[in-house]
């Protein structure tokens, strides 16, 4: 079973995403902050990370860079309510950038895609 690390500071959204990914058959681990996400990457060895950007403390872009530094092979999908972060080149380190929506179809599809590409490598 593929393991997804879900990084999201909003409790309600985290629950929404968790249920959505569990429905897809993934094992979901959670982090509420960037620093917690880094600890989870090391302890839980996820197959992919779904990462919010606008979080208190270490933001998602900083967290993305640190995850890449820890393990450059873990695909990361940025999941933000804002498109404007695409202008920051650091966001391009991510494998995909999704604008948040209550409909999780696009996010699920992209996560499937990055996991398939990772498996193919």
């Amino acid at each position: 079973m593929k393991k997804i690390l879900l990084v999201e500071d909003d409790d309600h959204q985290r629950l929404l995403y968790r249920e959505g990914f569990e429905d897809e058959g993934y094992d979901v681990v959670e982090a509420c902050t960037g620093r917690e996400a880094l600890a989870r990457v090391e302890s839980d060895r996820p197959d992919a990370v779904v990462l919010d950007i606008n979080m208190p403390g270490m933001d998602g872009l900083h967290t993305l860079a640190r995850i890449h530094d820890l393990n450059r092979r873990i695909p990361v999908v940025l999941n933000s309510a804002y498109a404007a972060y695409k202008d920051q080149f650091v966001s391009w380190i991510a494998d995909a950038y999704v604008i948040k929506s209550s409909n999780l179809d696009e996010l699920k599809s992209i996560v499937r895609g990055v996991l398939a590409r990772k498996t193919a490598c």
């Binding site: 860079a65 640190r66 890449h68 530094d69 202008d87 920051q88 080149f89 650091v90 391009w92 380190i93």
Partner: protein, 412 residues
């Protein structure tokens, strides 16, 4: 477009972080770009002067190893731009912002500074090196890059195939599009129209900014040396628009001079080339000034001592030097060098503050800063003897490092 237009659309990243191992011991305490050259200059002054003379005034200098002397030099010599007008020469040592390591390679230095590109959002990024001595107007290169709609344009020159085995070799088609790029090939592919010569990379690149960002990120995800020549450029050749700008084809003879002064022998030869009757790099050309920093020194002085005449021929004698009854032949003297009575300095490079004692002989040597050569000493006259104390290069150049203590010739 004018030079100010290029400045508006182009950001310069000058790579100055290499360890400079092959120039050791000159790089024992200083970064390679900070190694003195041509008496008054540092190696980096040539690239920075090219930028300034081309109108490019937004320059990040990515530093790393032993950067103190380079930092100091940049502050003293290159604090002439106007930050309030958006001009700058800014050093950027590893910030450990994105990652927790030093710059692993040239491409990693850019990767670690993606945020700088994001702040400026230039159309193009000119990537240059602080390790080369050359004269180049970057304007025609930038125009060529724009005309071809290139993702990357690699500046290059032509060298004999035998020499190309030590360099990055480009294979191009009839439209100057790069079809292959091979670092240090055993059998370099020659030019289509000259089987004796190959086209080689001179470490000057223009990237369309987004292509650069994608390329360094893609490379950072691989296990690689994170180097432009070894990894990034070869990976771009197949699916991006990569073009070659041949300075022999596109530039006048005055701009075809380019030297990699990365080894002690090439550094030595490039210095002595300045002394030729028609030097390939003319420091006296007013239209292309090479800036440097020089402290306040009295003028160079040559004085006879008794019957011993002070002589200097085919040499660079910097301010503050005193030739006191000695002879200087085909040599480069940095400021504050003293040559004593009866001493002879021939085909040598003497860095600031070197003192050559009476009757000493210095032949085909590089003598680093503030070394005191005692009276009657012999350097470069007997390599077996020289090797007991100093490094002697393949080309037969003796290198006397900073801090060397040289015993007088009559010492036990």
């Amino acid at each position: 477009m004018t030079s100010s237009d290029w400045n508006a659309t182009t950001l310069v990243m000058l790579l100055a972080g290499g360890e400079g191992e092959r120039l050791y011991p000159l790089t024992k305490k200083r970064a390679k770009p900070a190694v003195p050259f041509g008496g008054l200059y540092r190696i980096i002054d040539f690239t920075l002067s090219n930028c300034l003379n081309s109108g490019l005034k937004r320059i990040y200098v990515l530093t790393q190893h032993k950067s103190l002397s380079l930092d100091r030099h940049l502050r003293l010599a290159w604090s002439l731009l106007h930050p309030e007008l958006g001009e700058f020469v800014q050093t950027v040592p590893p910030q450990l912002q994105l990652v927790s390591r030093w710059y692993a390679g040239t491409a990693d230095a850019v990767f670690q500074n993606l945020h700088l590109l994001g702040e400026d959002h230039p159309r193009d990024v000119l990537i240059v090196s602080g390790d080369h001595v050359y004269r180049m107007d970057y304007g025609p290169l930038l125009a060529f890059h724009a005309q071809h709609g290139a993702d990357l344009t690699v500046a290059c020159t032509q060298v004999p195939c035998a020499q190309a085995t030590r360099m990055g070799v480009l294979e191009i088609d009839g439209e100057a599009r790069v079809r292959a790029f091979t670092e240090k090939p055993a059998s370099p592919v020659p030019l289509p129209y000259d089987p004796s010569r190959a086209l080689v990379n001179i470490g000057v690149y223009v990237f369309e900014t987004e292509a650069l960002v994608r390329a360094v990120i893609a490379d950072a995800k691989q296990t690689s040396r994170q180097d432009f020549g070894h990894n990034v450029i070869p990976a771009m050749v197949d699916d991006r628009r990569v073009y070659a700008f041949d300075i022999v084809e596109h530039r006048p003879p005055t701009e075809r001079y380019w030297r990699d002064v990365g080894t002690l022998d090439s550094y030595f030869e490039a210095n002595l080339e300045l002394l030729l009757p028609e030097p390939p790099l003319d420091l006296f050309e007013g239209a292309w000034p090479v800036r440097m920093h020089s402290c306040q020194h009295p003028p160079a002085l040559m004085r006879n001592v008794g019957d011993l005449e002070a002589r200097a021929a085919n040499s660079i004698i910097s301010p503050g030097c005193v030739i006191s009854g000695g002879s200087v032949l085909r040599s480069v003297l940095s400021p504050r060098v003293f040559v004593g009575a009866g001493a002879v300095v021939a085909e040598s490079i003497l860095m600031p503050g070197v003192r050559v004692g009476e009757r000493a002989l210095v032949n085909r040597a590089i003598v680093d800063e503030n070394v005191v050569i005692p009276a009657d000493a012999r350097i470069g006259c007997d390599h077996a003897d020289d090797r007991r104390q100093f490094l002697v290069t393949e080309g037969g150049v003796v290198v006397v490092p900073e801090g060397a203590l040289i015993a007088p010739s009559d010492a036990p």
